[in-house]
Amino acid sequence: MSKPQSIAERLSNQGFNRRDFLKFCGITATVMGLPPAVIPQIANALEKTPRQSVIWLSFQECTGCTASLTRAHAPTLERLIFDHISLDIHHTLQAASGEAAEQIRKQAMKDNQGNYLLIVEGSIPIGNPGYSTIAGMSNKDMLMEVAKDAKAIIAVGTCAAYGGIPHAYPNPTGAVSVEELITNKPIVNIPGCPPIPVAIAGVIAHTVTFGTLPELDSLKRPVTFFGQNIHDRCYRRPFYDKGLFAESFDDEGAKKGWCLYKLGCKGPVTSNTCATEKWNAGVSFPIESGHGCLGCSEPNFWDAGSFYKALSVPTGDFAQTAGYALAAGAAVGVATGLLNKKKKGDAAKNHETVTINDLDRKQQ
């Protein structure tokens, strides 16, 4: 095996010069919301620190998250990150499988004990260990084993972060997220179905550069990428404020690019960076393509009501409930009314007439 190249050498071999490298460091600082002063620090760290060992485990997933990160766009931040980290094992990408692959995993764990980053893609079934196994080992057992000596864990994608689609009702496999099983390790959630590539790359870059995890919110998401909601950053927002909405996917409003709120867009309740970072090398994002946001980076997004019902509309069949309640209320109301009428009638019937003579008699 040849001697591992430094990142500078690798970049120059790929046709990047020093300017490209510093530009990359600048982008890294920008996407992580750091001041320009740290750019040299990032450059220094990326040039000198040994390549970060990363173990990537794939559980109940669709490989969408990996596909999101590895799509070929040159030169991208994501690719540069991949050039810099030592991706020691990635179930889906590697050629080896079964026992051979397991040997590589165990070797990597041994060589970088306590220092490797664990990236998890997919949810973990705990209903029955047989639902998802690798080389005969259940996903849960493998997660526990690898997490034990990891420096930190990055849960990539909504499945690993919150359980995702496998966790959706009725959750046949008993799927859970990483943080439901691991409580004694630092965890970063990078939700999304799939997550935005720059968010994955940014967190890895931050970890490599500073040796710490980025600032996280209450759902363990990096604030830099998940601090704002899509609605607030959406280029269609002015139409929302003006009250101009597309009523269907092919009406005049849709053609004019008006707000998709009425068509069920979940942008207002979704914290992600799609509207700013965008997808496919900055080409567009779902709302720009004419479809409302599904809220895929939020917990339980699959069970949060129809994708095509506006946020202000209740999810259940409340019209039917209203119908029954109306009938029941009317029945009880009429019954009460009749009772009151009877009471009135009885009172009238039992009324004793008193004449002036009766009163006189009583007084005497």
């Binding site: 207002p268 939020e298 917990p299 259940g316 069949d317 409930t321 309640a325 009880v332």
Partner: protein
């Protein structure tokens, strides 16, 4: 752990169904209870139309009385502002109209968010000054009951939380939106069993008074 999205799903789902059931049941019950009591039939020869009299009073009573206005102009003006504001915010905000469309199957024109936002602020202010007036004026304070304050609170909260949700104040939007919906649900549950019922009974009472006057041929 319940996340804000779970909370939002909960208030949009099962809680809304329960609140709707109580709200509709309560209103239906209260109205039918009144109507089914019936009045004694009036056998006197009509001197005018019940319908005309009823309809006329329905609208004429919405106009303020001159002498009352002179005595308490402030309450009347602030009261009008807050009632109109409440109507505009409730029925002319696009997200709200979508809710009514789901129930009734048809919708109507909504106002731009900026306008709704401005009307909300005005309505909130009107409600606040009315509360202050109620607390500071000895006669009003004496006449106020606990129910008055409950009703004020459950009406004020949906407006306030709606405003805060739109402006992302205090909590992130999903949680604030959830709280807004929950506050409306509280209003819906309280509504049929408090003086908030005046929203409906007011028109029944007016019509009845007007119809009686019409029947007797009272000239207005």
């Amino acid at each position: 752990m319940m996340t804000s999205i779970d909370f939002l799903s909960w208030v949009r789902g099962p809680v809304f169904i329960m609140a709707t059931a109580i709200f509709v049941f309560g209103i239906s019950l209260r109205l039918l209870e009144i109507v089914s009591l019936r009045r004694k039939p009036d056998y006197s020869a009509p001197r005018g139309s019940r319908m005309v009299g009823g309809m006329r009073t329905l609208f004429s009573r919405s106009m303020y009385d001159k002498s009352t206005f002179q005595r308490s102009a402030f309450t009347i003006v602030a009261g009008y502002i807050f009632h109109l504001g409440l109507f505009i915010v409730t029925f002319l905000s696009v997200p709200h109209i979508l809710l009514f469309r789901e129930l009734f199957g048809f919708d109507w024109f909504g106002l731009p968010t900026i306008l709704i936002d401005a009307v909300t602020v005005i309505t909130l202010l009107a409600m606040l000054v009315l509360l202050i007036h109620r607390l500071k004026n000895p006669v009003r304070r004496f006449l106020s009951t606990f129910e008055n304050y409950v009703v004020w609170t459950v009406t004020f909260l949906p407006l306030l939380t709606g405003y805060m949700a739109y402006h992302h104040s205090v909590f992130p939007y999903p949680l604030m939106l959830g709280l807004h919906i929950l506050s409306v649900e509280i209003l819906m549950v309280v509504f049929p069993f408090t003086q908030l019922m005046h929203t409906f009974t007011l028109f029944m009472a007016r019509w009845h008074t007007g119809a009686n006057a019409g029947h007797r041929g009272i000239q207005v």
